[in-house]
Amino acid sequence: MSGEVLPGEAPAVLPGLLDTEAIRKDFPILDRTVHDGRKLIYLDSAASSQKPRQVLDTLQSYYERHHANVHRGVHVLAEEATALYEAARDKVAAFVNAPSRDEVVFTKNASESLNLVANMLGWADEPYRVDASTEIVITEMEHHSNIVPWQLLAQRTGATLKWFGLTDDGRLDLSDIEQVITEHTKVVSFVLVSNVLGTVNPVEAIVRRAQEVGALVVIDASQAAPHMPLDVQALQADFVAFTGHKMCGPTGIGVLWGRQELLEDLPPFLGGGEMIETVTMHSSTYAPAPHKFEAGTPPIAQAVGLGAAVDYLSGIGMDRIAAHEHAITEYALRRLSAVPDLRIVGPVSAADRGATLSFTLGDIHPHDVGQVLDEQGIAVRVGHHCARPVCLRYGIPATTRASFYLYSTPAEVDALAEGLEYVRGFFA
């Protein structure tokens, strides 16, 4: 990986790129200017993606024409709202190739989805119950949302929390897999694509070992669902969590997919309206999944909006989006490694890697990198990206992170590389 492309050089046409000129027209915010007329270069999609007009129009027309509370209404609006909400469930089920629509639970975000699983297992009966004799396995590259729920569960049940470490080149170290996942392990929860390193993890090896010992597998697909075809059956996981706002959907909506028999067997988490079958003051029985896990008025408009997002992404094709991002990632790795003093934190090749690039730039603090890039209109994220153990592992306080999506262009990669040169000069 050397600097074949000189700064300022026009990028050769990359193989597999989408027609970003057309796509960018769908995203009103990408026309925005910042800091006195500079064009926005949004490289922070791993934190949250922007929303296409198709999703915004769906939200608007939902509220302007169809809104009512869902379920049990006998009037037109209630029926329409219910039909739209449940149709969104069908769409999401199809998007992840779920065997049944009833396996799709709507939550408020991926964090709630992961907490839901941790809580279900804490309150479950055998054989699922997590207790003091149990081991929970995660990895050192998890997002805090896939660490803290398990720490809380371990504290509250006495279970032992274990984890896979990382190799120097930003991959999971599975060399001790037999020692990490043992016959005491009841649950293995790991991220499919790291939000800091970009690493795509080897699902099969982990699932195979987990199945050997009879542990449940939870996959945090928050950074995968937006960017590549996702097939819960192929993954062979028991639960898969992801979040709407990173995949062109609204904020306030997340998904937990779970295997039907597990959703049936496991106890509820939040109690309230809609999740019950019948209630007396003395006791209650619960509705079948997915409703059992959807207490209260759900994020109706947000689910409908996520349905529109899924339509939008599928319309373009997840494989084509993945190919686009792969091309951009390859190009970005090439351009960035030509910037002096820049060190990629994570895999330096585009193989098994998502379009999220974390790096350090000499000893210029990421806050300064981010701020000076921002003054040029370039939006990146800086900090520990809610995955502080990764920074600890690599002995750095923070990183600068640029992340790409279906609307990202090679020209934006160029702007980033040039921006970084400017940052270096600024603090030299």
Partner: protein, 155 residues
Amino acid sequence: MYQDVILDHYKHPHGRGLRSGDAEVHHVNPTCGDEITLRVRYEGGTVADVSYEGQGCSISQASASVLNELLVGKDLGEALGIQATFLELMQSKGRITPDEQMEEVLEDAVAFAGVSKYPARVKCALLSWMAWKDATAKALGEAAWEAAGQERRTA
């Protein structure tokens, strides 16, 4: 926000390095990992030295350098007054444009006025100042501290 004064202090920090002192504190900004270890030394009621070491962004580094330059040699009472003024400026969300009087008190530190518009960076600018206040409290003991505060308020 990157005034030349700030960049200057960042590139050529004053009084950096740890020297002997009466008390040492270690402060961390958990949201970004900025860290500072800071020592104070008092002689009578005077700030004899503020020495420090740490890692962080240009804002937090420059602000520690400015702190050293401003506070060393000052009376505790006066130093506290400067700290309070700097705090006020940083929490102003860009709404305060330093006037002459403030410039007289804060000297180079007025260059941070622009930083107060960036909520994410205010903590960086305040890191060393909070550490200094904490270290001072430790050095003097809470009682002396209260007395000093008292003195300042009634001055």
